[in-house]
Structure formats: structure tokens, C-alpha cells
Symmetry: C2
Subunit: 153 residues, 2 copies
Amino acid sequence: MATTTSPALTGNPLELERQVCFALSVASRTVLSVYRPLLEPMGLTHPQYLVMLALWQHAPMPVKDVGALLQLDSGTLSPLLKRLEAQGLVTRPRNPQDERALTVSLTPRGQALREQAERIPEQVVARLGMEVAELEDLHRALTRVIEAAVAGR
Amino acid sequence: MATTTSPALTGNPLELERQVCFALSVASRTVLSVYRPLLEPMGLTHPQYLVMLALWQHAPMPVKDVGALLQLDSGTLSPLLKRLEAQGLVTRPRNPQDERALTVSLTPRGQALREQAERIPEQVVARLGMEVAELEDLHRALTRVIEAAVAGR
DNA sequence: CCTCATTACATCGTGTACGATTAAGTTGTG
DNA sequence: CACAACTTAATCGTACACGATGTAATGAGG
């Protein structure tokens, strides 16, 4: 019979099922796949949805701040914001006080989209069928590992 | 003074800092950024590392099984496996018993790489500076949400 | 006033993700 | 045996991620 001691101290340290990074990748992709059918009617991808969340809270804001908030660089954000602009959800004129910076603002259409988005969180929780308390625990655990990873990279 | 009731029941339900999906995305990308400098000397990206973990455990195995294990489809796996093949880490001849299927096997070089990989997990834990027990808790929470998401998508 | 380092974005190249389609092989059924 | 239904990969198009590089604007020091 195989050993059944604490998994941290025994067996293959490279076992796929034990890797937190594997669970993180799969969890991220799988949870996003729950959002996809809900976001599709709004014409948003999940990263675009996160940017819109940031804007609904803080617009108008510079691209730099969006990047800091979402931990994304301009290589990702520039084309993403262009696509939101092409959809008529945001504008991004240059800041007259600093011609390097773009000020990302919501169009009326972008503002209006918020109402449809209001229902997303509850729908996701319903589809997951998990307790809100358990999701809050997960959120706290993720926040901890994000802090640890930012400090350790 | 602002209200400070339970966050689940008050305030803006679209608040970015409250979204589990946001924490998941950032955690996934941030933790992977801890792996990147460790994997780079091995010539592997993180998804390639996960495939190698699967192969070190189960090779030879069909592409189908790799996909099932990692929750990836052929659109992702085909080019990824081609790159591993180009690096001389794997072979993927057709299965004579079923000419549709490819049997992914490790080359001696692919097998040998495992020794370098053995040190990755401990190095990551060290860089994160988190208790193994806390990481195991996180792993359990992630496994729960993966199951919920798979069921609910 | 004039460099020069810094900052804010944009662009490019590589590598995933993923839906959709295609192509080839296999299998069940009449 | 014929053939439709199914399975396995590959391919294509779109959209992130991210490192590296380019460019214009800003600001600090001489």
C-alpha cells in the first residue's frame, strides 16, 4: 500500500495535482469560462470587463492608473482600449496638461452598459452554486498570494 | 463616515476589489511571473512546464489525455507540443493502433530536464515566503471553485 | 536655455487561450 | 460492405499577456 502521509512531505514534488500554479491556471480559465456567455451579449471579453469595472469606479482616469490597478502594461492595454474605443464605450483624448498621457473616459454608451453589468456578479454566484462566504474566503486567500507573489518576483 | 457592513450585502457590487474573478486573474498572472525567471533557464514557458509535469508523470500519453488533464484543447496544445518537439523534449508519432491519435513521449533530453525541474517547487515556495499549509488551503479552495465552475459553465 | 534621464504610450514578436472549421481515421448499423 | 456518426488533431482568426524597443513629452540640473 502506498504511503498516505502529509502530501507536503512525501511522494513526487512535481505531481501535477499538487501544484498551486496549476490549480490557479485552471481555476482562472475555468471561472472565466463561466463569465464568457454572460459577457458575450454585452460584447465584452473578460479583460475588457475588468477594465470597464475600473472605469465605472474611477473614470476619467489615465491609462497608467488603469494599468496599475489591473496589473497590466501598455502592451496589453493599448490595443484593448482601442477596441473599447472602436465599440464606442470609451474615449481617450490626450491630457492637455501632459500630452504624454491619455485620459480614458466613458461615453454615454459605456456608462449605460453598467446597468447590464450589475446583474453579472449574482448570475456568476448562482452558476457557481457556492456560498458567498466561501467565495470571500477564496478572495482573501488570493489576495494573500498576490501580495506574496508581488513581493517575491 | 462610510458604511462598514459586510461587503457582500452593501455598496457597489461591481467594485473591482471585491471580484473573485479579478483576484483570480491577477493571482494567476502574478504567481506565474514568479515562475518565469526560474523556468527561463530551462527554456520553458509556464504552460509548457505544466505539460512537462503531466508527461513526467504519465508519458507516453495521447494528446487527448494531456488536454483532458490540463483542460486545454487542441488549438492550444498542437502548437505548444510542436514547440516542445522542436526543442527536442518530446516526440509525437501517430499511434499505429489508431492513426488519428498522437502518442506524446519524452526524449532522453525531456526526461533529463526533470532533474532541473525538481527544484522549482521549493524555490517558488521560498520566493513566495508563505507557509506550505497556507498554500495547501489555497489549493483546496481553488479545487472547490474549479469543480463549481466546471459544473456551472 | 539646453541637455539628459525619465515618463507615458504605442508597437512588435512570441506564446498562449479558445471558438470554429477542417481533415483524416474509426466505428456502429443496416 | 457501405456509410453516416463520431473521434482526434490541425488550422485559422481574434484577443490577451508580456518582454523589448521606439517615440514624443516632461522635468531636473548645469
